[in-house]
């Protein structure tokens, strides 16, 4: 005889989700993740929209990752319409995406995850128990926002990123200001990494499934998926490889892959596929819960990478460029980018007039659903407990390790 336990809303994650705990007798025997976010039906909303409207609308899928949605959408559109952007635009977009990575990771580490380790309910609690950490987190987060704002015009839903280029190119003084901020933050990151590595383990060791990440381009960018199983999937085949299916208990589609293997995307997966030498030890065979450490390491990488991009841009000398001209034409384009939470795919088809006739958007949290549920089940089994509250707390923490972005998943 089984019955389901109380379903609580998930907190300190983006969007609306629940965990359903199934009990057999008094023992919790199974868990299920419900992403019951209200769908906005973006893929349907985009149909019939002209090419220059698609990215503006699509970035509204999610606020935390709006910059990367915008850039992914633009790249897919440009590919479909055969638009080439200047190298400067490419670099600036990369920088904006790195800014998003910094903001999102700082938000997760300091505001959403750290409270779990310090025994408080959220950032207001942190202000009491670890005010310096909160201050540091907010500073890094603000810097990530400033990068996005400098390039995108706004930290959320960046309007300055357009098909073919940018509205206004930031001046060297703006980039220099970013570089100064990045330099300052850079100094503090080794301590942060050490700190996250030193945090006590609170979950039983659960090991992630196979890893999948975008590859073949500069950091976070690329043209194909690479996996820990050695597969290489080109962008235009990625959607069918990810194999999204509708499931009754989730408003987000599930990636079913080949029906056998489950893949993880996101910081741990990315690092797993290219482990930086200095962290090889910490990360080799790391459990799901080391995602906090993974994010701290990625934060450092994002800061380093941003500094490098700025150096390049400043050395080349910034030009005020007009966006590349667009001649509407029919075509299809698919872009892959690493969003903070993992693989993001935007794919569009346009007709002769440049009107969107097909849209497919696959987001990291949707891809991760299978991995999250698998881990939840493993956790419940590992705990083998009748203490409902204990299981519930552990499950919530586990879900947070994946930093799900449910608005993205259900879009």
């Amino acid at each position: 005889m089984s019955r389901s336990g109380r379903i609580d809303i998930l907190t300190r994650v983006e969007g609306h989700g629940k965990i359903e705990l199934i009990r057999t007798g008094s023992r919790v025997t199974d868990a299920r993740l419900h992403l019951h976010e209200s769908p906005r039906l973006f893929e349907a909303l985009l149909l019939g929209k002209r090419f220059d409207e698609v990215a503006e609308i699509a970035c509204r899928i999610c606020s935390i990752c709006s910059t990367v949605h915008k850039v992914a959408a633009l790249q897919a559109i440009e590919q479909a319409l055969g638009v080439r952007v200047s190298p400067q635009t490419g670099l600036l977009r990369q920088l904006a995406v790195q800014g998003g990575q910094i903001e999102s990771h700082a938000l997760h580490i300091y505001c959403l995850a750290l409270p779990d380790y310090l025994g408080v309910g959220g950032f207001p609690g942190l202000a009491n128990v670890a005010p310096q950490k909160l201050k540091q987190g907010l500073k890094i987060k603000a810097l990530g926002n400033l990068i996005q704002e400098t390039i995108g015009g706004r930290a959320i839903h960046p309007f300055n990123l357009l098909v073919g280029g940018l509205g206004r190119t930031p001046g060297p003084e703006h980039l220099q200001r970013l570089a100064d901020g990045l330099q300052e933050v850079r100094e503090e990151l080794p301590d942060l990494i050490e700190f996250t590595a030193s945090l006590p383990e609170t979950l039983p060791p659960l090991f992630p499934p196979e890893a999948c990440a975008v590859s073949g381009g500069p950091a976070l960018f690329g043209d194909h998926l690479a996996t820990s199983t050695g597969e290489t999937v080109p962008a235009d085949a990625a959607a069918s490889w990810l194999n999204e299916k509708v499931e009754a208990h989730s408003h987000a589609k599930f990636s079913r892959f080949d029906g056998q293997t489950v893949y993880l995307v996101g910081p741990l997966a990315r690092l797993h596929l290219s482990i930086p030498a200095e962290y090889a030890q910490e990360l080799a065979g790391a459990p799901v819960s080391s995602s906090l450490l993974a994010r701290a390491i990625e934060l450092q990488q994002a800061v380093e990478h941003s500094l490098m991009l700025i150096t390049h841009l400043l050395a080349a000398g910034l030009q005020q460029e007009k966006p590349a001209a667009v001649v509407p034409t029919s075509g299809q384009g698919t872009a892959l980018i690493e969003a903070p939470r993992g693989v993001l795919l935007h794919s569009y088809t346009f007709d002769q007039r440049g009107i969107c006739t097909g849209a497919d958007i696959i987001t990291p949290t949707a891809i991760n659903q299978a991995a999250i549920e698998g881990s939840l089940k493993a956790l419940v089994a590992a705990l083998d407990s009748t203490d409902y509250q204990q299981v519930k707390t552990a499950c919530e923490r586990l879900v947070r390790c994946f930093d799900p972005c449910i608005s993205c998943a259900v879009h």
Binding site: L10, P39, R50, S63, F159, H251
Partner: protein, 247 residues
Amino acid sequence: MKKLRLAITGLTACSGCQLTLLNCEAELPQLLEKFEFHYFPLACSPAVLKGRYDAALVEGCLSMPHERQLLLALRSQSQLLIAVGSCAVWGGVAALKNGTDRELLRRQVYGQSRTAVGTFSPQPLQSLVTVDAVINGCPPEKKELIGLMSGLLLGSLPVPNDQPVCSDCRMKENLCLLTERAQLCLGPLTLGGCEARCPSQGVPCEGCRGPVPEANLGEALELFLQKEYGRAIVIERLRRFYPEWKS
């Protein structure tokens, strides 16, 4: 002074308005001194809606039945209910195809599956409850959110603005994209307060803050058509954040 007890949540939306609050990094410490973020699922655990709230800040529109329940609960438990962001105020991006049958849209995404069957055409909060004040924008301006918060401390609500984006834009002495560049800029029809963010960077206003009072749609449409924008394109653009524009 006793801290003001807040409920902050989102309905059908992207969390951008709530994130805008979290993006007020400089002001957050001060906010923590004055407000208790009692119900704020995005950032605080646990999230149990309980007791009376001085104010509820609600992001997003209504598109599923359970959201109606939540909104009614927020309304009945809160002294003030504030609609934050264009989705909550106008319907926003999610509502841009409100003219189309929702079931058709649902099937375009989910096929024949019974997933998300309850979804209905997105509606602004005012369609169900009384809203005491609104903050516009997709996303809203930080400045306006902070203004709302400091107003709450005093016991006042924001005075509604009725100047269009063009006014902000002209005050900044920008080049006018509509008259000088014949671009499809929605500045004259759109509620200002964003300091003309987009036109100031040479990007036409996309109307993210919703319509200004007395927006002269007919005449604006005429003007856009003269500048050789097809009717359909103009109408599509107009409806991006506010589905109620009549063509």
